[in-house]
């Protein structure tokens, strides 16, 4: 019996090492292949200038238009989704505490929406735009992407809020707090690090998605100066360049991927830094 327990322990330990290793390996292979193919094409010119004539045939220029466009798009849509999603998550966890059935209904719908592929959101937005005769624009992209990441924001924040112990919530109530005071003075503070993670998660999804913006943002070689203009984005820049027959251009697609990964890395590190500073007040129950 004792011996069996020991083998069992070995087996599961081995399994854990194996899965950790395989995840690490996959990540490494992806990063390596992107870096290996893309690094030779990465240049200062690429991230500091917009495409010049013939850029897509291998001539000089850069993809600053797509970098800025993607940043506008994902920051805008994350902000929009957060502004709508945060109150909804708070509402579900604070105002509807007595209404558990209704809340689990909302959760179910959000989980369904989370699972809907982004191309469906793109197609939906496209239909609406045609119906109202709207042209592709940065704004249309922001709205579409925010619709697509809204369920992610809400459910991710919701999961964090659910970890707040009942006792803390009730202590706050017994001090005579109103529900909105609990939401913004207590739950928000207690969950701040988790909320940042939720925002990051949706930002990452937003900046990397190509399908939802394929029909909604259009594509241009210029940096957009208003919400009504079309805009380029990194995922589409990668997509267009990757389908080119010219090796030079395909290489640039990988370089653009590196830029995309770097942006996400920088945002993650920044938010880590800021959450650390606020985490000290969090109570660990």
């Amino acid at each position: 019996m004792k011996k069996f327990a020991k083998y069992e322990e070995w087996f599961f330990k081995g399994l854990m090492y194996l899965s950790t290793l395989s995840i690490g390996l996959v990540l490494f292979v992806i990063l390596f292949s992107v870096l290996y193919t893309g690094l030779p094409y990465l240049s200062w010119e690429m991230i500091s200038s917009i495409p010049e004539g013939g850029y897509y045939y291998g001539k000089s220029g850069g993809i600053l238009n797509a970098i800025i466009g993607s940043l506008y798009l994902s920051l805008g849509s994350t902000a929009l989704a957060f502004i709508v999603g945060m109150p909804l998550a708070m509402f579900m966890n604070i105002h509807l505490v007595r209404n558990t059935k209704f809340v689990s209904g909302i959760r179910f719908i959000l989980d369904l929406l989370w699972g809907v592929p982004s191309i469906v959101y793109g197609a939906f937005a496209f239909t609406i735009m045609i119906y109202f005769g709207l042209k592709t624009s940065l704004l249309a992209g922001i709205v579409t992407v925010s619709l697509f990441i809204l369920p992610i924001v809400v459910r991710a924040i919701d999961e964090v809020l659910m970890t707040v112990p009942r006792g803390l919530f009730e202590s706050a109530l017994s001090l005579g707090s109103t529900k909105s005071e609990i939401a913004y003075r207590i739950m928000f503070k207690q969950c701040f690090p988790g909320i940042i993670t939720a925002i990051l998660l949706s930002f990452g999804r937003g900046i990397g998605d190509a399908a939802s913006i394929l029909f909604t943002t259009g594509y241009t070689d210029y940096i957009p100066t208003s919400l009504g203009e079309q805009t380029a984005t990194l995922p589409l820049a990668i997509f267009f360049q990757l389908s080119s027959p010219i090796p030079e251009v395909r290489g640039r697609a990988y370089a653009a991927s590196i830029i995309l990964i770097l942006i996400i890395l920088i945002i993650s590190l920044l938010s880590r830094y800021f959450t650390k500073r606020y985490e000290k007040n969090k109570i660990n129950f």
């Binding site: 007595r98 017994s174 001090l175 003075r185 207690q190 007040n281």
Partner: protein, 252 residues
Amino acid sequence: MENPKIKIENLNLHFGNQHILKDVNLEIPKNKITVILGPSGCGKTTLLRTLNRLSELNTEAKIKGTIRIDGSDILNTNEDVTVIRKKMGLLAQRPYPLPMSIYNNVAYGLKISGRQKKKYLDKRIEHYLRQVNLWDEVKDRLKDPASALSIGQQQRLCLARGLAVDPQIILADEPTSALDPISSQMIEEKFVELSSNYTLVLVTHILRQARHIADHVVFMYLGEIVEQGSAKDFFENPQQERTKAYLQGQFY
């Protein structure tokens, strides 16, 4: 009893189809310590949480009857529930400090009541922290997060935080069960001190504690009030068989 602070009449509480509080009639004297005793699961916590209207957060709860504070019903009223809750401080079984600094934990109640001036807050916070014997331990680190305190200190902080709301009643649900003997004794002594200005309702399993600080005792069993009376009568001359059995430690 003359002018009871709290007067409970025909209080019944169901969770779903479970009858938890059965026809509770109770008077709680003003500015005294009332101790609620009873075996585990008899409804002490539920009764306490019904007093400050936390029970009703439970979807399943059905509550009937009246609870009067200074003569006015707090169950069947249009009065804002936050106003009612502010009349009572609740000290839970384990401390739940708010996710903010020690200073802001105590300032919280004052701030949500619209007191913002720093000078005023500083003075009051020192006052409340002194009142729970915490000031000397934390005066140099008021800006530190409350989570950095020990459990005993956190419980005293929670008491200070409750006092800062300026309640008339303090509800305490086994407030010393997570504490060491010294911290427990500190809380007990505080309660005795506070009872000259506040009405205290204390749930405890510790008979020694009850004998030590109770002015008035209530004994509950399976959701009913079996016996209540002054501490002297209750401990020296219990009337009911079940009370006697409980006091002799025959069931918990």
